[in-house]
Symmetry: C2
């Protein structure tokens, strides 16, 4: 092997550590192993589902000593879970390359700093107020009105750590329900639909975005993603500009997601996920290079892959338990993803991605599947596709 080839070969034989061993880590391993990357997983749970595909180290996310020992021989440390204490990560940065950088994780861990950062970049966010006391809560609701959403500043996801406020008289109870922890009160945005943009940025500043994805949530948890979302070119360009703006501002390296509300022809940024994201799972089959592979290319210093769409793609999320696999497996061009987790309420246990040459063809295939084996996510997807086909 020539000297140059040896150096280049080394770049693709990197050892990657992933903090968090859930389905995102699992899909990272499955896409990165093909590139010759080697993985290690860190997770508190001995049955973390990525642990069947790579060596698993068990430890608490806040245990800086254990994390440092885990990271010692790695080339890069990255995440399937963004709520690792920022102070823990800060202690590691001298010894190990971490991507995305801990500063952006710290920013997204606090809804208040996140919203302030986006607002400072000129990206529209829902009007909000910081709430630390019952008095502030009352003032926030008085100033911004109802309906609104009260969210804890930290550790919220999948609808956890948030509650809706419909009347001024609910304000105090809502704050008490979230344990009087520091919160953000947001005006409820009267959105027409939910969109997300997955994007990726490399170490040398190369930036690529996937087309906007339209999402449907069910009880606060993603149920359906459809890509590419039907939008005006202006809306797509706006989302891309926001994503590039965020990526450059934070010197972001890796894949991330921005979740938007569409309000008329504007986009209001709801939140950022500084990692691969559930609404980008369709890219495994539906894009030329998936969000997972692109994340790994970015954090490994490799060239980014094409984010072009192969075919219109529909993702159905399986939450709580898997549906019967056999009717799903019998559908042509449907990819069945079983994360190997046990069933549990509100737990993401798998997903299916259906691809076809058009939205019409997607709709026909979905209708046939629903007739044979109806699922709740499938029903929501039928509603979404109906809006695309019969607007």
């Amino acid at each position: 092997m020539s000297g140059e080839a040896q150096i280049e070969a080394k770049k693709t034989a990197l050892s990657i550590g992933i903090v968090g061993g859930g389905q995102l880590a699992r899909m990272l391993v499955l896409s990165g192993a093909r590139l010759g990357l080697r993985f290690k997983i860190y997770d508190p749970a001995p049955d973390a589902c990525a642990g069947t595909l790579a060596p698993l180290t068990c430890g608490a996310f806040a245990d800086a000593t254990a994390l440092l020992a885990f990271a010692r021989d790695l080339d890069v440390l990255t995440f399937d879970f963004e709520n690792v204490p920022a102070s823990t990560l800060a202690a590691l940065t001298d010894d190990i390359k971490i991507a995305p950088n801990p500063a952006v994780l710290a920013m997204t861990q606090d809804r208040l700093s996140e919203k302030a950062a986006f607002a400072a970049l000129g990206i529209p966010v829902a009007p909000f107020r910081a709430v630390s006391t019952p008095l502030q809560m009352l003032q926030a609701v008085q100033e911004l009105g109802v309906p609104g959403i009260l969210k804890t500043r930290t550790l919220g996801y999948d609808g956890k750590g948030q509650t809706r406020v419909d009347k001024l008289s609910d304000a105090e109870t809502a704050f008490a329900r979230l344990g009087l922890s520091p919160c953000v009160y947001e005006q409820l945005v009267p959105f027409s639909r939910e969109l997300s943009m997955l994007a990726v940025r490399s170490e040398n500043g190369d930036f690529r975005s996937y087309p906007l994805t339209e999402n449907v949530h069910d009880a606060g948890i993603l149920a359906v993603s459809l890509a590419p979302a039907r939008t005006t070119p202006e809306l797509a360009a706006l989302a891309e500009a926001y994503a590039q703006n965020v990526a450059e501002r934070f010197n972001y390296v890796g894949t991330f997601a921005l979740e938007f509300f569409q309000v008329a022809e504007a986009l209001v940024l709801n939140e950022m996920a500084p990692r691969v994201h559930n609404s980008g799972h369709w890219s495994i089959e539906g894009a030329e290079c998936s969000q997972f592979e692109n994340h790994l290319r970015a954090v490994s210093g490799l060239p980014l892959g094409s984010t072009a769409v192969r075919q219109p793609s529909l993702m159905l999320n399986w939450v709580g338990e898997l549906p019967n696999a056999l009717p799903q497996l019998a559908v042509a061009n449907l990819a069945w993803h079983d994360y190997g987790k046990s069933a549990r309420s509100a737990r993401k246990v798998g997903h299916s991605t259906l691809c076809a040459e058009s939205f019409e063809a997607l709709s026909l295939k979905l209708d046939a599947l629903q007739r044979q084996s109806p699922t709740r996510a499938g029903g929501l997807a039928q509603g979404l596709l109906n809006r695309y086909l019969r607007p």
Copy 2:
């Protein structure tokens, strides 16, 4: 979870053992993990490359006791390597489900029985003679003429265990060169090109074939595969009929490959691989369901997936060492596969699959890649694509 769903879920949480832990096993694990299947690997080499993705048991292929211990808790035993002694496998069949069945492995392990079986099915093979003595060798060459190929009956692959005979006076030396082991002498078929057909059959007899693939070998080892091969519908139908015929005759369960020589508008069967095959690697990106996933669906009793082509696909095999990864990774819609093996002469260490909307587009992308980072396989592929575009 309902009772029915539990039963169906169990079907996709099967534990699969793979005998042989090379790149084929590795790609089986990478495609099957997505379905929720769990894997164990058996291989004599402690550094077998599938061992980074699934627990590896080290043992000799002929060690029936070790294999039985390995297989005890499995739902299915399957193979990435077909030369496991048939007697060893026969000892396991009472205790464990083995797919494909050991009888078909035994048949393909002996070139003489393989050729006799195909001839009995009415599938054209090159004229051949069994050779066990120097006298038989001389007679074989006299009867079938030169040029011809002498092949050991067992353990040959990638051009090993075979030698060409160009003159009658070479006959004895050739037989001596192969150690006087039992051989088959075959007439050299004056073929215009090499084609292979990947096909899969399920437990309940469902049969599906991938379109014919055109292959180019280099020093006896596969260098390039292009799919779908340009053929007449008659030739495609002939190959499919042969494949279905073989699959049904042997009650085959799983993916297999038939390697053909094209002679005018006829096909001469060269050999069968009772497993996933190098010439089907393009199907990972280029087909709706890959040869690997379909093999696992078949041996697990799941419905087969679609073998339809997504896009014309070109596979370049990396033999001996990997080329520089960076120019490859920079090509849109090129999938880079690094098996994680160390470089060694004649060793298959990786492959690239390039997909595009047409052969013209494939050719343009390949030409650009060759200008930047020429490879021997790439050069052979350019020659092949030139024949497609400028016949």
